[in-house]
Structure formats: C-alpha cells, structure tokens
C-alpha cells in the first residue's frame, strides 16, 4: 500500500489561486478526509491527485513514484465520483470490467475479480443490468465495486454520499469504514459533511480558503481546533463564540463576559495578551442546572431525544446554545441557570488562532 506526499502543490484557475503551496503527508493504509466548505479547493486537490486537473506548481508522490506528470490511468488510483459516472450503455459487469480490459487483464482474471467485488458489495444479482435500471444506492455500490476491482494503491472518493438519502448515507458510511478495514488501502475522501469526516477519518484535513487550516485526528480537531474556523465548522451544534476580556489568574486565563460572568479557563496565559478575546464553548459544556451561576432566558428549545438543546440569551443579550437532558422541563421564555464548564473552554485571539487547556 502506498502513501501520498504533496509538496508545495498549487493550482490557479484564470489567475485565481484555488490551492496555494499546500504540503501534506498521507501514510500508507490511512483514511484521510478532506473537509471544508464549498469552494475551499478540496475537490480540486483530490482531482489533482487523480490527474484530472493539472498541477501548476509542486510535486505529488504516490508511494515512491512522482505522479503529477502522469496521465490519470497510470497513477494506480481509483475514484468514486459524486454522480457515480457509470457508463450508461454498458452493463454493470462491463462497467466494472472496462478498466481491466483496457490494461489487457486476462478474461478469467477479470471475471474472478468482478464476481468477488460484486459479492462483497452484494450486487451480484445486478451484474447484467444497466445503470439506468438501478436505484441511487445500488449505483453507488457499483461505483465502489468498479473502483475495488482495479485493486488500486489509492482510493479517491469525491463526495460519494451526497446524493443518497439520509438513511442510506449512514449505512453506506458504515460500509465504507468496513471496506477500509478489510482492504487496508489508503483512502482519501472529500466531503463538506463534518459527521462523515468525524466518523470515517483516521485523520481530517480541514481546508478553507485554498489552504489547510488544520490536520489532525477527529478528536484532535474537535478538542483542540487550531482556528476559529475549524472550531465553528466541526461540531454540532456550532460552538458558542462569545467576546470577553482575558486576564491572568494564576497563570491561566480568567475571562469576563459582557454580562459580568467570570469564567476560570484552563488555558495558559503564556503567549496570550490580556484584554479582548473570544471564548469558545461547546454546548455540552454549557449545562442547564438548578445550581448554575449564570442566568439566561430560554428562547428556543430543540428536543433531540437523547439530549435537549436550549437556545438561550444571556443578560446582555448574547446568544448561547446550552444542553440539557433528553427529558427536559425547560420551555421557551423560562429563566434558566447555566453551569458552564470553563475548564473545557477554548480562546481565540484576534487572528482567530485557537488556544486550549494545556
């Protein structure tokens, strides 16, 4: 299995930079997810690795081989497209065999591989149908099977779940995770859905505005977001960001909110300038509690079953999302007390760079 190395890779479209001097190392057998909003360059980066976009600067290596000058077919990669890209006039069997026939694989070897891939994805009964006769979920399985039969060094997935309904998306996500465990092949998966990224990835690469914001394990990204953008993009509901003033309290930051609430964080003051700051608090660290020190008014209550999200307003009018138990008596308009776990808070400086508890 091969890893992938991107060195100072860049790409421009008509004078507009979409990827700027990006470097990244992906280990063999790793499942890496490129996560970011629309237009951040994640799909372009994937297509550059596949050879579907030219590289304007830098180098791409798959394993030991430099590939950025090679045509797509010679890079040893297989790709699953967002809209499946199955050949409509060919049967499923021919769709899967097409790539192997083009490189002169023996007919019995092709038949064996096609049968094996079809069996593993439970599409054996569809092999003689055409893509137009299949449902969206079945087409997606065929697209994955078509990638598997090539036995590539690297799998590339370009938002493959975005055309599936919610239930099928969850099921296919699970199957992809199992597929990765079974094959052990290096995989790169592009998505704008943070849940897909968190559940599938060994490592997430968060991209924004043509560059990498953070690379890390899902929990790294969630617990220690490098920037304000990463903190807001990952996690549901979105992290609470409140302006406050930081001061030194025994080596760690004490943040005073606009309503006067004082929060003793665990963020070291080292390198932090006292004064204006932004504090980031995830909803699970802002609990509704009878003995809570901070008063707020509930505006909207969202009951999700296993937990309740309460959108509240602090005394100064700042909005905040708090969490309560699944069975909650809070109603819109109630005055509630909040128990804020300030030790789990993040601070962001004026440039949006995150600071966390040591």
């Amino acid at each position: 299995m091969a890893g992938v190395t991107l060195t100072e890779v860049s790409k421009t479209f008509g004078g507009v930079a979409v990827i700027q001097g990006l470097s990244l190392d992906i280990a063999p057998r790793e499942f890496v997810v490129f996560l970011g909003p629309s237009g951040c360059g994640k799909s372009t980066l994937l297509r550059m690795i596949a050879g579907l976009e030219t590289v304007d600067g830098g180098e791409i290596h798959i394993g030991e081989r430099r590939v950025d000058h090679l045509p797509p077919g010679e890079r040893g990669v297989a790709m699953v497209f967002q809209h499946y890209a199955l050949y409509p006039h060919m049967t499923i069997r021919d769709n899967m065999a097409f790539g192997l026939r083009n490189i002169g694989t023996a007919a019995d070897e092709i038949a064996t591989r096609v049968e094996a891939a079809a069996k593993s994805l439970e599409i054996g009964h569809l092999l003689d149908r055409k893509p137009g006769q299949l449902s969206g979920g079945q087409r997606q399985r065929v697209a994955i099977a078509r990638a598997i039969v090539k036995q590539p060094e690297l799998f590339l997935f370009d938002e493959p779940l975005s055309n599936l309904d919610a239930a099928l998306r969850v099921r296919t996500r699970l199957e992809l995770a199992q597929l990765h465990q079974r094959l052990g092949t290096t995989m790169i998966f592009v998505t704008h859905d943070q849940v897909e990224a968190m559940t599938l990835a060994d490592r997430i690469v968060v991209l924004n505005d043509c560059r990498i914001e953070q690379v890390g394990t899902p929990m790294d990204i969630y617990l220690r977001p490098a920037t304000k953008f990463v903190a807001t993009f990952v996690g549901s509901p979105t992290i609470n960001l409140l302006p406050g003033k930081a001061s030194d309290a025994g080596g760690v930051a004490l943040v005073t909110l606009a309503d006067g609430t004082q929060l003793q964080t665990a963020v070291p003051m080292t390198g932090l300038t006292p004064g204006d700051t932004t504090i980031g608090l995830r909803a699970e660290h802002v609990r509704i509690a009878a003995d809570g020190a901070t008063k707020a008014t509930a505006r909207v209550v969202e009951r999700l079953g296993e937990r309740t999200l309460v959108h509240v307003e602090l005394a100064d009018g700042s909005p905040l999302v708090a969490e309560d138990a699944g069975i909650s008596s809070v109603r819109a308009g109630d005055v509630v007390s909040l128990n804020i776990n300030a030790a789990a808070a993040h601070l962001f400086d004026a440039d949006g760079v995150g600071r966390h508890a040591a």
Binding site: A50, M79, A85, Y87, M90, F98, G99, N102
Partner: protein, 292 residues
C-alpha cells in the same frame, strides 16, 4: 368511471391543439391526399380529364428515364448521406472544445449552410469549370489536362455530391456538437482513470452516448438528400445524358414542362414512399439496436 368522467370534461383541452391541427390538416394532410388522388388521374393545369386508376404507376415503372432518375437519386443519397454524417461527426469531435479557434472554425463551417442554392452552385461551377475553373488551374499548374467534371457522366454526380456536402455540412456538425456537449464530463474522467485511450473512449463512451443523434442525423439527411433538385437543375440540367437527373427534377419537368400533372404526382408518391421506407428502416434498425 373516472376515465369516462375525465374524457367527458377534458374535451375543452383539445382546443389548445386545434390551431395547429387546422394548419396541419390544411397544409399537410389535404395536399397529401390531393397528391394521392391526382396520381390516379390524367390531366393538366386546366383540369382533370379522366380517372386512370393505377395506370400512371404502371407507366412509371416502365419508363426508362424515370428508372434512371430513381437510380441516380439512390446513388446521390449513397454518396452524400454517409459522407455528411461521418464528416459532420468528425468536425464536431475536433471542434468540441471551448478554444477560440474552434469557435471561429465552427462559424466558418456552418456559414455555407445559410447560402442559397444559387450561390452555392455558382461558386462550385467556378471550381469545376474546365476552362479557368479552380480545379482546372490547379491541374494545369501540375501539368495535367483539366477535367470537365460536370460534362463527364461518371464524374458529374460525384461533383454535385461534393457541392452538396460543402453546402449541407453545417447541420449535422451542429447536431453532433449539441449531442457531444450533453455527454457528462465525469464519464470521460472515469474513462481516463480506467486507462481508456482516445480510440477506446470514442468507440466505447462517445459514440454510444450520441447514438440517438447519429440516427437522427442519418434520417434527416436521407429525407433531405432524396429531395435533390436545385443543384443539378442549376449545374447540369440533369445531364450529361440524364446522369444527374434526380426524381424531383423528373417530377418538375413532367409536371411543369410537359403539363402531365397526374404522371408527375404519381412519381411524387413513389418518392414519398421511398423516403418513408428508408427513414423507417433506419429508425427500426437503430431502435432494435438500442433495445439490445
């Protein structure tokens, strides 16, 4: 019950198609019927003299000049339709790119289509003229004797076919371009990742994707080229020795020179049947292939 109730109340909807239906019946169905009726009569512009049944048709199939025109028309269709289809497809494949040079060339290749048949034939007469024509000048420059294309029974029809291909190439090219631009780019990307070379991509991805347009172009061109008239009328007058006389020219001369309207109408019915059979056969073959 529901169907009966729906049809009872839905008849005002038919009013929406009525304007077109009136025009269709008046301009297509009635003339078609009149033509069929005329083909069973003997008469001129001043009126029908007698009803002669199918004798016009029996006379036609014993008329060596008519049979020659049928042969000429088939020969012309054979010369032009495959060439128009393949050259149109080739041009579309080459020019299916957003580059500026392709836009310019697309316009140039389509430009000939907007010219009238008189202009086109005039231009090509100047090309084929044995005395001072373009080809003659080139032949002389190469030290060869100029060929009188339009006066040679073997070369006159190919010359008219070349003129027609030059004139008509715009339509198939544009139809193929439209079809090519409908093929999803992802299919080509998947093919590139599947190691498909240019020829494989053309044969296995592009051509199957545009097969419906291929059939459409062939049917349209069969219908158009069976109706050959202006080019031989203006370039050769059907000569030399009837070598370029097509069915429509025969119909025109029989009807408007010899005033045998019934006989001309019978020839028109034969042409109508030929076009219908050719187009239907092509359609059936293509749809059977598609179903497989």
């Amino acid at each position: 019950m529901a169907t009966a109730r729906a049809s009872k109340h839905d008849w005002p909807n038919a009013l929406f198609v009525l304007p077109y239906l009136v025009v269709f019946v008046a301009m297509i169905v009635v003339p078609l019927g009149m033509g069929m009726w005329l083909s069973t009569t003997k008469g001129d512009l001043f009126g029908v003299e007698a009803n002669v049944g199918l004798s016009n048709f029996t006379r036609l199939f014993g008329d060596p000049i008519f049979l020659e025109t049928v042969k000429n028309t088939f020969y012309f269709v054979l010369l032009t339709v495959p060439a128009l289809t393949l050259i149109g497809l080739g041009l579309a494949l080459v020019l299916n790119t957003p580059a500026r040079w392709a836009t310019v060339l697309r316009t140039i290749f389509f430009a000939s289509t907007v010219l009238s048949v008189t202009v086109v034939t005039l231009v090509w007469r100047l090309v084929f003229l044995p005395d001072g024509g373009l080809l003659a000048v080139i032949s002389e420059a190469l030290g060869r004797t100029p060929i009188a294309f339009l006066n040679n029974p073997d070369l006159a029809m190919p010359a008219i076919a070349i003129t027609t291909i030059w004139w008509c190439i715009g339509l198939p090219m544009v139809l193929f371009l439209a079809a090519l631009q409908q093929v999803p780019r992802e299919l080509y990307e998947a093919a590139a990742l599947d190691n498909a070379g240019r020829w494989t991509t053309l044969r296995r991805i592009t051509l199957p994707a545009i097969s419906r347009t291929f059939v459409l172009v062939v049917i349209i061109e069969i219908i158009l080229q069976f109706q050959l008239f202006g080019q031989p009328q203006l370039m050769t007058l059907g000569g030399p020795n009837n070598a370029t006389r097509p069915i429509v020219l025969f119909i025109y001369e029989t009807g408007w020179r010899q005033w045998e309207l019934g006989y001309a109408a019978a020839a028109a019915q034969v042409l109508f049947a030929m076009i219908l059979i050719a187009a239907m056969a092509q359609y059936l073959v293509a749809s059977r292939k598609g179903a497989q």
